[in-house]
Amino acid sequence: MEVVRSHRKPAEADDVVPTLPLYLSAPALQVRLEDFELYAVDRLRVLKEISDGLSRGKKSDEMEKLVRELWKLHMSHPHASEVVNKDIISHFVLRLVYCRTEELRKWFLSMETSLFRYRFRSETHEAQRALMAEFHLPYKTVTSAEFENVKDKLSQVARSTGQSLSSGDGIFYKVPFEEVPELVAGRRVYIQKGQAYVAMNQVVSLVVTQFRFLLSKALVLTNRKWTTMIREQEKDRLTPLVESLSLSYLGPDYSQPREFTEISLKDIDQVAKSSFPLCMRHLFEKLREDHHLKHGGRMQLGLFLKGVGLKLDDALAFWKAEFSRKFGAERFDKEYAYSIRHNYGKEGKRTDYTPYSCQKIISSMPGVGDHHGCPYRHFSEENLRAALGRMGVGSRALEDVMEKVRNKHYQLACTLTFEAVHGTSYDAGINHPNQYFSDSKKTLESRNNANIA
């Protein structure tokens, strides 16, 4: 891909086929510098909405519809032939942006795979078959004679997973069972002599798996190229653009606290009760109780408090007051003060660490003696119910929350908790504990103001 300065260059030959691109290699297109950024931003809007939709637990059909709408809204172009170019260019630009750390790669891979999955599902069967061929997936369709022989079994399998044979279009692929381990594990396919009979709608998972696999490898390669070559070469042109793009649209990262969210030490107990999400409330309570937290808890709670507006001096005083009741002030200064200053970027490599997002917290693995992690995921049902009860969640809402937990929609469960505790509805999904906190404060303050007025 060649990036050129301002003047307009017509797109390459208009024989661009309107199918789903596979992004297998960077195209030989020329891009204006402005378009470089604009296209990427539009695509990022789409990816972020997908992220929101998924964390709100939208089902597949809803996601498919959402993706269609988003694509029309953000990724269209006045020149029809430019639509595919925009698609391809924006993808490759974002690869540069999101290849640079493990966490960015994971997020990008996850969103692009989802985007691909729902776009693929919207395609016609012919288009899907063509795409399968492009991935070099050499599966044969089941002939109608074969189909007659196994029809009963296929129908049984379909019904065992809550579907019916007729809802498909009777097209099945014979795939070696080794290539569809997910479907085998869930007994969602009929297998005979090592061949799995994969329905059209299950083929999606084959193709998507392949897409993810290829993109994952490509991202690692891109990162290598970026660090060894591109970043330096492009330091006056693309690099600043790429670096700024990654900071936008993932939502605020809460490293710069805003005015009204500053808290002071004397308020902290009150504020913890009213506005902390359950994960932080639990850590806070345990800290008050035990006068100690293990490393994982110190990081999760400490960074959260930083995001909430607790200044470094107040933070030091806060942790010292607690820890010295168990360990003594001197030991605190020797062993723990350093790491708090480190979190605020005042020591070592002076990175100003950002508070953990829900995704990060949910995927952590608290062990014995730990209290960090996401209670909706890591607590037993009994303990979670008790904790939510103490937060003031009523019994009806409690059941809704537990339902979400059972379906592994932890962030949705937290959102429902927010709604129950504050008595309002909350339309966005909770992605970040600091988001919970700041929206809680906003809600309570507007209620106060309303009361006063």
Binding site: Q156, S160, G162, Y190, I191, G194
Partner: protein, 453 residues
Amino acid sequence: MAGEGAENGRDDMIIDGSGADQQRQNNLIFDGVNVNYLKLYYGKLFPHADVFKWMSYGNDGKHPGCDHSYFGRREFSFTLDNDIYLRFQSFSGLSEMENSIREKCPFKIDIGPVYSVDPARRHAYAQGSDNVFTPVERELIFDIDMSDYDDVRYCCSGADVCLDCWPLMTVAIKVLDSALRDDFGFNHILWVYSGRRGVHCWVCDGKARRLNNEQRAAIADYFRVYKGNENSQKMVSLLGQALHPFLVRAHNEVLKIFFEEKLLSTQNLLLDEDRYEKILGMIPDESITSELRGKWADNRRSKEDINVVRWQQLKHMLQSAKQKLQLRRCVEEIVFSFTYPRLDMEVSRHMNHLLKAPFCVHPKTGRVCIPIDPNCCEDFDPTAVPTLSKILEELNTEGSRKEGDNEWDRTSLGDPVRYFRSSFLQPLLKSCKEEIESSYSAKLQESKNSLNW
């Protein structure tokens, strides 16, 4: 396994075999297995050459396509009599293996995977580089242990096994063997008695040996039905409008018959209140369970086996057409809970899992781990499996030896070894040869093609 209770009294009984041997026992009484007998066993009876041929998978050097390093990359591990555990043992050929076994006289020999390089040189390969020390081939293995069925057998528990509960293993073999062949297309399957209370399965097809961990886990999950834990009454949950064809076949061809015609009576599953309450606890309908309870409380004698009578009553109530599908399905769930194979998932999942070698002697029972023919597994009697003392005695008392005879042929080991060779090893080696030949020709063809300009 470690932690077994003291069972020496029972051990003597098991080792004795039949009463007639009592007199000849005088010179051979011992606790468990002692080193001298093992030395004799490894010296004259253990089929070293057959195990070597098996583990070579046709790479005997006779064909240009043979891989000379193959056998040497296989891990063996030895457990010595003072509980010393030697891992990563490897041998360049038959005589090295034979000598090492005879010299070290291990109480247990485990077989691990074939690695990318000789395990003895593993430390030379740094992690994270391109040349890694990693498993490249490993049989697909399964381990079924009777102690996992303790909650559904009343005749024995723990390490004990008798002819009333052993049929649970027979059933497991039948269900899995036919699925491995018919569903997955595997052909070279070896079932082995584990020496005390279970069975092992070795699937040795090339395709099976090359499966990765994800694929192994998928197959194990395909076979998993039982999901019991202390919190649930019901251990099996069969949802969906229909059952997957694999489960249907297992139920109709094996499990139902076994449950109704054998297990119900031999385990007296519905005889007493404690036992029938366990089954009633799996039925989520108060009106039905209380009606049944009422019928059974009065303990009427009947001509027919009371368990059978009560089961018919239970089925009749649950399966009448007016019941909801989930209630009708309860009957199958109960059958599955008691009879469906319970695999040790961890054993099958990872390529590097070690498993005891066939023809070892079980250190606690003295029994030889002999193969089981799946086609007549219902005839297999674990209490009649030859013990080390028995076969050594046979060696001593049989007539003069002819030159060139295999020693084991004069003992009870004869039949098992012959079975191993004819039903498993020979067909396997034939197929391996074919594979080596065809992949060699393919490679030749490819290099010829690449020479064409």
